[in-house]
Symmetry: C2
Subunit: 199 residues, 2 copies
């Protein structure tokens, strides 16, 4: 398969691209670096990306921006970022990408465990994640030629270490990549795959 | 209690306002009609509403616009409406309203069963509903002086009849109003109340 991995320069994305490239051809995509670049917050940029790559058999997104921060300090701009980038950026991968994914192909997005297990500071991220999980479940009912799913990672060990947090209960990027592999090579449609269910 | 009911001119809102007014003082709010008016899609309008009403003991929203329609026909404007009105309009009731709700008061929003039980045509509505349920769960972790919850109505019998649908499995507006009563008078915080659990 020819697989477009969006966010391939990030911690999870790199592990996903590495894993999938054992058996497939991966087109690595990032905001600044990669075989192709894309600004997820800009629908025109998403269109341009797909026009450059042409048809692909699968799309995997591990991208999408949103800010962590106290509820009382989250600004309108923080909400706009979560909605325009993490949420609509990925929703637009389905809306635009469905015309570029081959028959029986798939699109896999990324939410996160904070949708259902929030923590203080996660409100706008939890909001975007919950939206993605419900959206994919609904959209799947109307998508017959491609499968769409969303992977919900737990906290990633490498990210926690980078932020100086105790990473004891973190899941490594390599282990996180398993659920993406399952979503791409499996037959689920409209589902949320919790990373911790696939370890 | 002094309770602000937003969307009080709608099918559910009217039943909620009627029910709560048996024991409480209700300020009925609508887009065009009501004791006060508000445009939920406009944060300035929400601020102006609270400045007019002054402190209230509870806020109940049964409002929020989003369009039903085939995935392939949903436009950018349909997504924007769902995000700016149904989602951020209600999120802003918490962000702005928290300063106007008295200690131990509450804010109750409205999502809908389509977040977890979608149907063809519901993608942007399901997205907004899922976002609201995750947001309220997360925001509750940081709100100590007020309670926030979201009620998820099933299909409302009167609305189904108005749309010419078979309403056999619909829940009447009066029955739907019970879950709102529970959210206002109960002690839950950060929860999604499925209307069908309170019949």
């Amino acid at each position: 398969m020819k697989i477009l991995v969006i966010g391939a320069t990030g911690t999870i994305g790199k592990a996903v691209a590495d894993r999938l490239s054992n058996q497939h051809e991966v087109i690595a995509t990032g905001y600044r670096d990669g075989d192709v670049t894309v600004d997820l917050g800009n629908a025109e940029s998403i269109k341009a990306m797909f026009e450059k790559t042409g048809p692909v058999d699968a799309v995997v997104s591990t991208a999408g921006l949103a800010n962590f921060g106290p509820l009382s300090e989250q600004s309108d701009a923080d909400y706009t970022l979560a909605l325009n980038n993490k949420l609509m950026g990925q929703v637009n991968l389905i809306r635009i990408g469905r015309d570029f994914v081959t028959n029986h192909g798939s699109i896999t997005l990324t939410s996160g465990i904070l949708s259902r297990q929030p923590m203080p500071g996660s409100a706008s991220i939890s909001m975007a994640n919950g939206a993605l999980e419900s959206y994919v479940k609904a959209a799947a009912l109307e998508l017959e030629n491609i499968r769409v799913n969303v992977v919900a990672p737990a906290f990633v060990k490498e990210t926690m270490e980078m932020m100086g947090m105790d990473s004891t209960y973190g899941v490594s990027a390599v282990d996180t990549s398993i659920a993406y592999d399952v979503a791409v090579n499996g037959d689920m449609h409209g589902e949320t795959l919790d990373v911790t269910d696939y370890l």
